[in-house]
């Protein structure tokens, strides 16, 4: 059930069996939510965190006029709001972009796990460091990359993050997003996204169609994106 999460952790450090056991015991229930459901609302008091088992989630913020910015996409194996363990309420909302399966970890159980296994405490801290690193890369993308560059960059990022949990390979991956969802990630209009996708296709780099990203030229795509995966901290080492 939490195998994707373990894959993600084990890509970064060794997780011995007793720690795996403790992680498994941290979750109390599994729920399913439909697409477009907001599962965490900004400002609401929280006493549990949510692990995504299947599907796609996003963190987002809205302006008063209704314009929406997605600040991170979450794939299977990601904690959507591990940071609520410490913050207790969030400054953003979390929404299901597709049908999702979620596992719930009450904060008192997370607390107990961290107390008994300080190494897992550090790993959870690391996971929240990683969110900050992804946010920084998105600020760079939206502030300085061209529309084409930032779209290509998002496809590269997702390929690696999904690949880590066995949901992508060199040729591509399933991605059940609309062009509006992409626009809200990229700070572009959906018309602009449509044009950029066409250009990426015509340049023979990547194709996004029918809920699937098909990569035709990975080195070319990474060049167009100026993609450097260092910010995803993929090394396996003691932490």
């Amino acid at each position: 059930m939490i195998d994707h999460f373990l894959l993600k952790l084990r890509a970064r450090d060794e997780i011995p069996p007793d720690e795996e056991e403790a992680i498994r015991a941290m979750f109390t229930e599994v729920i399913e939510v439909p697409a477009d459901k907001t599962i965490v609302r900004a400002g609401k008091e929280l006493d549990f965190s949510t692990l995504l088992l299947d599907g796609l989630l996003c963190r987002f913020k809205d302006l008063r006029d209704g314009s929406r910015q997605i600040s991170e996409l979450h794939v299977a194996g990601d904690f959507a709001d591990l940071h609520s363990f410490s913050l207790k309420h969030l400054d953003h909302s979390v929404m299901a972009l597709t049908r999702c399966r979620l596992a719930i970890a009450p904060h008192d159980r997370i607390q107990a796990v961290i107390r008994a296994h300080p190494h897992l405490g550090r790993m959870f801290w690391f996971m929240t460091n990683l969110d900050a690193a992804i946010h920084r890369e998105w600020v760079l993308s939206l502030g300085r990359r061209s529309a084409l560059g930032r779209t290509a960059h998002l496809f590269c990022e997702l390929r690696l993050r999904l690949g880590l949990v066995g949901l992508a390979d060199e040729t591509g991956y399933k991605l059940n997003l609309t062009q509006i969802d992409l626009a809200e990630c990229l700070g572009l209009t959906s018309v602009h996204v449509n044009r950029v996708l066409k250009e990426l296709r015509e340049r023979g780099l990547v194709e996004f169609r029918g809920g699937r990203v098909t990569i035709h030229d990975l080195p070319g795509l990474e060049r167009a994106a100026e993609f450097d995966p260092a910010y995803l901290y993929l090394e396996r080492r003691p932490r």
Binding site: K88, D91, W125, A132, H135, E137, R144, Y233
Partner: protein, 250 residues
């Protein structure tokens, strides 16, 4: 010297007198000074030390190959660089001074001892990290959706509240060492566009910048045009008190 640091971390966990003494001690161990516009740490380096800003302003930034630069956050007195930086093999961003900066360096051994000896400081540092991620999220919203005018107004509000939380404002005034190029790099705009927008803000009676000082002339209206809600700064105290905040120690 470490008041700002204690005030900043105190927003995330209740610190005892022992904790405060510990912070003061550790921040005095390896103090360095660096002139303006210099790199403290560089992207791609192996982290040597955790940084605590004692005095002055700095920025974290990332750069594309052709030199286009994006500032991803500003650091003011009391701000740690990345806490727990040692879990990372290589840094994914650089830190550069804006003014002359005095800062403390903590070795991994210092850091490990600090978080083992004081669970409150550990919780405060993690809390700080999460607030940093929260500020990054707000910046994604800023560069993704806000207009130039709103972006700059938002940045001004953010820095004002951060400075206020560590006692570095005088009424509605504070230091403002940022150039128009810095603002441009933080907001994804050109310097020319920043210049035009700042003039417009002055004409509208919102802010005034002169001699490296900022005066906010109408904070309520500035926050309103920026859609600014200080909640995301997780300052814990008065600043975040706009209704939806209900921080609790745990």
């Amino acid at each position: 010297m470490t008041e700002a640091l204690q005030l900043h971390l105190g927003a995330f966990a209740r610190l005892t007198d022992d904790d405060r003494a510990r912070l003061a001690r550790i921040a005095a161990r390896h103090v360095r000074e660096i002139g303006p516009r210099r790199d403290l740490v560089r992207e791609g380096e192996k982290p040597r030390a955790m940084i605590l800003i004692l005095d002055g302003w700095a920025a974290t930034y990332k750069q594309l190959r052709d030199g286009r630069r994006q500032i991803t956050s500003f650091l003011i007195p009391g701000d740690p660089g990345d806490a727990n930086v040692f879990v990372l093999a290589r840094l994914d961003h650089s830190i550069a001074s804006i003014t002359p900066v005095r800062y403390a360096e903590l070795s991994q051994a210092d850091f490990d001892a600090l978080v083992v000896e004081s669970p409150s400081i550990a919780r405060a540092l993690w809390g700080h990290e999460l607030a940093t991620a929260s500020i990054h999220r707000e910046w994604v919203l800023n560069v993704g959706q806000r207009t130039a005018f709103e972006r700059i107004a938002h940045l001004v509000c953010e820095l004002f509240w951060k400075l206020e939380a560590v006692g570095l404002t005088q009424g509605f005034r504070c230091d403002w060492p940022l150039t128009q190029a810095d603002i441009a790099e933080a907001t994804g705009l050109t310097s020319v566009h920043v210049n035009r927008t700042l003039q417009q803000m002055r004409r509208e009676g919102l802010i005034e910048i002169a001699g490296r000082k900022l005066a906010i002339l109408n904070l309520a209206r500035l926050q309103c045009v920026a859609s600014f809600n200080p909640d995301y700064l997780h300052l814990g105290g008065g600043a975040a008190d706009l209704g939806s905040s209900s921080r609790q120690g745990q």
